[in-house]
Symmetry: C2
Subunit: 321 residues, 2 copies
């Protein structure tokens, strides 16, 4: 068995081979550019972890891992277009560097490339994996649409936000584990428990993400915190703050969101702290983590096989960037 | 056995069922809108024809046909964005009606929906069909990229144009037939011959398309001809005209392409006729049709089974719009 860290290194090495042919270079060079700007490669490693929980890693798990990473990168290229983002991981986004039309096609072809890796899966699980992959891919698109819809809505409830985040972020983490588990020969019930583990971890991950964007240490976080606040993004923090704020605090928040002032981030953070949003976020994260671990406990394999998944969860939750 | 016309009607009836769930309606209503604006549904019918050439139509062929039509519509939604087109089949395009971000996601989710139909194929041919579908999908994207690249190039050769058209248009027609044939239990050699038939038909189809855009009868064509000429689009006609024109004609063409004049279409058409581009296009179409029919002859099934494919070819080639 390999540790989470070892599997990360193995995947990163594997992923270095070129994923596209050389021509037409006007299409594939931008694709390679984006794949090479890096990333944490969490999802593909989760495919390997899902397999390893039940048996030695089968070569199919690497095909699956490549597929999931290509799919994730497709969503990033298209999301960056929708968000009109100019930077991703500190590098110029594809649509800024190569134009909208090429970025559109690069995303499309990345998704097709993902399906090419799926097709390489030799085991008799191809149909089942394709079904989960399709279902997940559709849900990720639905989540992105809901995220855009929420921008135009005045009020978003916590439940609505969790539903959106589940689709946009969690299901791909959950499905990565589950599809890996299928390759590993897991039973249906074990797959289901692992999927739920991944889903809850995903929500906890997003709570952490929203928390870091507001309260992260600039030096460690790698960028000035407060990006979400500046954009009035409906995050776990803002949604909760608006739910618990006094009439006066709510009025102040509304006013702050209606204008661009140099001390906007500072003032919003100060209200967040008055509302104890930071403590609430921490406890919400812990709640989802505990639920995740309950599902992990329900998986019928020896405890020692679960160790790399616990390492993964700790890595995700203790990250500071 | 069914005729081409009967299969068209059968597919159109089948395709009427909703292809998307109801929510989120902000994503799926635009998707349904686009699918409902119609189209000739040639590609899905080719899936059925490919199956029927070898055996009675298997339900899997309908899954495949749905997949191919969804995939084709995905390319149209994204191509319309890239071309900044405001109309498609006389109706407002998705990106104009619902905005770029939604159109981007609608295209994405149509492609995923195509793969959902592929996944439903029960036969043991799933892996092979998925491989052809992926390869074709990638080639269509490559063709679209080359088409955009050509817009920026001063000179495009006939061979380059045929290569681009093969990728952008022909391979999907060819693969639709081939994948249908696989479901019909065709041998490898018969599949290969049928694929080549589809590829040549596809090129002849594009010659016809370019011809109609220049020389079509406005009343029958449904729109004023000359759209390609107005946009200086590198078509079969323009590429050939530039190859055979005298120095004086070439100078005139270059000048006409550099400005917007009210008689541009008329003047370019007059040079096209002087260069006998219309006759050349007709003979080029016949050349590809003959090559296509040679491949059809090489397919080892009884002649009467080939009749619906001949009906298809005649329908495509004798169309006036």
């Amino acid at each position: 068995m390999f540790s989470f860290q070892e599997l990360s290194e193995k995947f990163n090495q594997e992923f270095e081979h070129p994923h596209f042919p050389e021509t037409p270079s006007t299409l594939y060079e931008p694709g390679n550019y984006f794949l090479n700007i890096g990333g944490k490669r969490i999802r593909p490693v989760m495919c390997l972890l899902g397999n390893e929980l039940f048996s030695d890693i089968h070569p199919d798990a690497y095909q699956l891992a490549n597929a999931v990473e290509l799919f994730h990168n497709f969503t990033l290229v298209h999301d960056d277009m929708m968000d009109a983002a100019s930077l991703r991981r500190g590098k110029t986004t594809v649509h800024i560097k190569y134009g909208d039309n090429t970025a559109l096609l690069v995303g499309d072809v990345m998704m097709i490339r993902a399906y090419e890796y799926i097709q390489k899966i030799k085991s008799n699980h191809l149909s089942k994996i394709l079904q989960i992959f399709n279902q997940t891919a559709k849900e990720v698109c639905e989540g992105q649409q809901l995220d855009m819809d929420f921008e135009k809505m005045e009020k978003v409830s916590l439940d609505q936000y969790i539903h959106m985040i589940t689709l946009k972020t969690s299901v791909l983490l959950a499905a990565s584990l589950e599809m890996g588990a299928i390759i590993g020969g897991a039973s249906e019930n074990n797959c289901k428990q692992l999927y739920e583990f991944g889903k809850k971890i995903g929500i906890a991950f997003q709570v952490q993400d929203d928390y870091l964007d507001a309260f992260g240490d600039a030096a460690i976080f790698g960028k000035e915190p407060g990006g979400d606040i500046k954009q009035n993004k409906k995050t776990f923090l803002l949604i909760h703050a608006l739910e618990v704020a006094t009439a006066q605090q709510k009025k102040e928040l509304d006013e702050l969101m209606q204008k661009e002032s140099p001390d906007k981030v500072e003032k919003v953070l100060s209200i967040f702290k008055e509302c104890k949003v930071d403590e609430w976020a921490e406890s919400l994260k812990v709640k989802y983590m505990n639920e995740a671990f309950e599902h992990l406990e329900n998986i019928a394999v020896m405890d020692k096989r679960k160790k790399p998944l616990i390492e993964l969860a700790n890595y995700l939750m203790n990250r500071t960037k």
